[in-house]
């Protein structure tokens, strides 16, 4: 079963929830799909046994065959090609790897070669399997990395997909692969506003989902109210705790260190298994 953990907001606690849920299951595969800023490795400190480069196909122009008609430049909608001083320049930062320039060239002067845009690390931390994606800073889209990660996930595994923040294309690609979504809501006005965006995403993509409310207070807050009003299942609530912040800032895994969190996450995990096995 593949569970995507997402939130509309940065800092809501996605990685905290994803890491601890994976840890509590004892044999999960934790996947860090926040390829622009992966942080899962800070907690798991995994042993990496394999690294796979992820490439996209990018054009290489054969200057001998090129007749400088610049049809490729005019075709490219992403501004990845320019024509100067009797040659074509290719700017990889903006290339979406659509293959169009190669198709449009009347001289067959464009071939494709691989360009590395990032990598995936595969390893483990104790009994937890670990995959993390990493996008090179100058690259434009993490989607091919997500696709590569998904292709590496073995069947019959309890998989936690730690998504990027927001609702952009990387998140969409990750949620596509999920059977279920856990939406993390930070119990605050800002958090609730963004929680709703994440719920909209899950709805738009027709994925079943439940909520985990993070930093909840003694009284019911806006995220709680929103869930009740819209009949969204609340899988669990993590109370706000100042010390947890310190624990997390040191890269420690809460369920390994504090009984309270061990209990909370065990409850959530058992409920998930019961509802969705």
């Amino acid at each position: 079963m593949k569970i995507a953990v997402l939130s509309g907001k940065g800092g809501a606690g996605k990685t905290f929830i994803a890491v601890n849920l994976a840890q509590i299951s004892n044999d999960a595969l934790y996947v860090d799909a926040d390829v622009e800023e992966p942080n899962g490795y800070l907690y798991f400190q995994p042993t990496i046994r394999k690294q796979i480069n992820v490439s996209i196909s990018v054009p290489r122009i054969d200057e001998e065959l090129c007749n400088l008609c610049r049809r490729c430049v005019d075709f490219c909608r992403f501004n990845a090609l320019a024509f100067v001083q009797k040659k074509i320049i290719y700017i990889s930062d903006f290339c979406h790897s659509c293959g169009g320039c190669r198709l449009v060239c009347p001289q067959n002067a464009i071939v494709e070669k691989a360009r590395v845009i990032g990598r995936i690390d595969i390893g483990y931390a104790g009994t937890i399997d670990f995959i993390s994606g990493y996008l090179n800073p100058e690259s434009i889209s993490g989607v091919p990395i997500i696709q590569k990660i998904i292709s590496q996930i073995p069947k019959k595994k309890f998989v936690i997909l730690d998504c990027a923040p927001g609702s952009g294309c990387t998140v969409v690609e990750t949620v596509k692969a999920a059977d279920y979504c856990i939406i993390v809501g930070e119990e605050s006005a800002f958090g609730c506003h963004d929680f709703r965006i994440a719920c909209n995403l899950a709805n738009t993509m027709n994925k079943p989902y439940g909520a985990i409310i993070n930093k909840s207070g003694k009284e019911s807050g806006p995220v709680n109210a929103y869930c009740n009003l819209n009949k969204i299942k609340i899988l669990g609530k993590i109370p706000y705790n100042y010390e947890l912040g310190t624990l997390l800032s040191q890269g420690r895994i809460a369920v390994k260190e504090k009984e309270e969190y061990y209990k909370i996450f065990t409850r959530i995990y058992k409920q998930l298994k019961k509802d969705y096995s």
Binding site: F78, N79, V84, K87, I89, I91, F94
Partner: protein
Amino acid sequence: MKIACPVNSNDLNNLCLNQSFGRAPYFYIYDDESKEGYITKNEGMSSPHGAGIKAAQIVVDTKAKVVIAYRCGDAALLVLKEAGIELFGPISNNPKDNIIAYQAGTLSVIDEIHSGHNNRPDQ
């Protein structure tokens, strides 16, 4: 020789240098031989990404040899350099004053963007 400046509007009587290069709505192209200038639209402005490349291509196609702008992205600068176009930093937001300053040799070349830790703007 032609000089290009990214500007805010297409009003030749009210030229103001735009803060960006790729996202400027127009370019002012001045020909120092005919002493005339015209405005061309920057089609690259509305690209979600890579606006600077398209803008650089537009400038290259005007056959300008000099650009006067506050800055441009590193990819756009690469295109300009490949085309043999030099980028100069402005002294004010008035393109005409900048052109005069360029002709007097008082403008400085911007040779690289993202200069790294050791070359920070003055505070």
